[in-house]
Each structure stands twice: as structure tokens, then as C-alpha cells.
């Protein structure tokens, strides 16, 4: 089971991991990835737009695909939307499994697909009021295509 959540507020990585592991004695590996707002070129803020009707459903489809490929993996994915400041967390992927290989692989898959198959768009904003929409990267497409 891999859960998906979409929210504007912050998340607590330690609590997410603890919730996955609670009551389990069969898990030997827990992996966690947090994506953060990086202040490239003096960036003042990053706004994440999403498609209200589709984004959560698409995140759930990505989670279901990971659960199908790695049946022994437990996990959760959380993606934020709205205006975020440098240093704030954007996305959290938490996985756990009996052995580390599956937990690492599922976490990487989840991030690669979130970046390329979930309808989010990032708009950068600088202190002088300039804004710019982030362009999609070919390297992200290549990372997602590894799992095809």
C-alpha cells in the first residue's frame, strides 16, 4: 500500500516514516526523500500550480503502479502546492520494505514519475517582481523513461 496526499501545508517526515513502520517487525529498510525549494539565482519564492481534478488521482495512479512493481514495499507520497519559500519542503517520498533494494528502487521510481507524470507547474519569483515558469528538463524525462 502506497498512499498519496496533496496539500498546501508542511509535512513531518519523521511522523510519516513512523506511521509506516508502526507495529511492523518484518521491515528491514526505510528510505525517505525530501525535495526542497532551492534558492537558485536569488529566488524569492516558488509557486506550485496543479490541476485540482486530476493531480491527486494521477499521484494515486503513480503510487498504485509502484505498489504493483514492488509488492512488498509500503510507502507514502506527499506533494505540496501553493507559494513556498526557499528552504521549504515541496515533496516527500517515504518507502519501507524487508530489504533495501526495493525501498530504494520504489522511492526513485516514485520521484521520477512524480516529476514527469503528475500535473504540477512551478513558477519562480524574484525579489524585484520578475517571474518565470520553470521549463521541463529532458533529463527528468530520461530518468522517468528508465522505468518504462
Amino acid at each position: 500500500m502506497i498512499a498519496a496526499r496533496l496539500q498546501s501545508g508542511p509535512f513531518d517526515p519523521a511522523a510519516e516514516q513512523a506511521a509506516l513502520l508502526a507495529g511492523r517487525t518484518d521491515l528491514g529498510a526505510a528510505v525517505q526523500f525530501t525535495g526542497l525549494v532551492r534558492a537558485d539565482d536569488g529566488l524569492a519564492a516558488l509557486t506550485l500550480e496543479h490541476y485540482p481534478g486530476m493531480t491527486l488521482a494521477q499521484m494515486q495512479a503513480i503510487a498504485a503502479e509502484a505498489a504493483k512493481r514492488w509488492p512488498g514495499v509500503l510507502g507514502s507520497i506527499i506533494h505540496r502546492h501553493g507559494r513556498l519559500l526557499p528552504g521549504e519542503p515541496i515533496v516527500l517520498v517515504t518507502t519501507a520494505s524487508p530489504h533495501r533494494g526495493d525501498a530504494f528502487a520504489a522511492a526513485q521510481f516514485l520521484m521520477d514519475w512524480l516529476k514527469t507524470k503528475a500535473p504540477f507547474w512551478k513558477k519562480e519569483e524574484w525579489a524585484n517582481g520578475t517571474t518565470r515558469w520553470v521549463e521541463a528538463k529532458a533529463s527528468d524525462d530520461a530518468a522517468a523513461d528508465r522505468w518504462a
Binding site: 486530476m54 506533494h79 516529476k115
Partner: protein
């Protein structure tokens, strides 16, 4: 046939609205034909849709290709390549 069009990110900004309901002409049967028809609606539409390699489409909330049929669709979203994560 009426269809709800949704726009996101810079596509929304260039067209100037986040949604519009349009009556699709019967001869508009594919995503590619829809984009051609939309581009003729206003200078904002034309600018937003000028470079089709930078446009992605979802028909009834499923990612589409230029060949995807639009007949009977209730909601069609038009947006740039996604940049989340």
C-alpha cells in the same frame, strides 16, 4: 457539443482565462484539430498555442496525444509540460 476547456500555467496566462466553455464544431475530432481551431480564436490563444511541442493536453483528466479523439469529451485541459517534484 459543449466542452469545458481548462488552462494551466503560462498557457492560462497567455490566453487570459483559466477556463472557458465552448461549442465544438462537429469537424473537430482530434486533439490536434482542437488546438488548430483554438489557435484561431484570439491573439492570446494563438500565442499560447504557437509552439505545439510545448503543449500538453489531458482529455477528461487523462493525458492525451495529438491523435486522441475529443468527441464526447466533457473536460479538456491544455498546459505546458509538467514541472513538479
Amino acid at each position: 457539443m459543449m466542452v469545458e476547456l481548462l488552462y494551466f500555467a503560462w498557457v492560462r496566462e497567455q490566453i487570459g482565462v483559466d477556463a472557458e466553455t465552448v461549442a465544438l464544431p462537429a469537424n473537430i475530432t482530434s486533439v490536434a484539430a482542437l488546438l488548430d481551431w483554438l489557435a484561431s480564436r484570439s491573439p492570446g490563444h494563438a500565442a499560447a498555442l504557437a509552439n505545439r511541442s510545448r503543449i500538453r493536453v489531458a482529455v477528461d483528466q487523462a493525458f492525451a496525444t495529438p491523435d486522441t479523439p475529443v468527441a464526447g469529451a466533457r473536460e479538456i485541459a491544455i498546459f505546458p509540460p509538467v514541472t513538479g517534484g
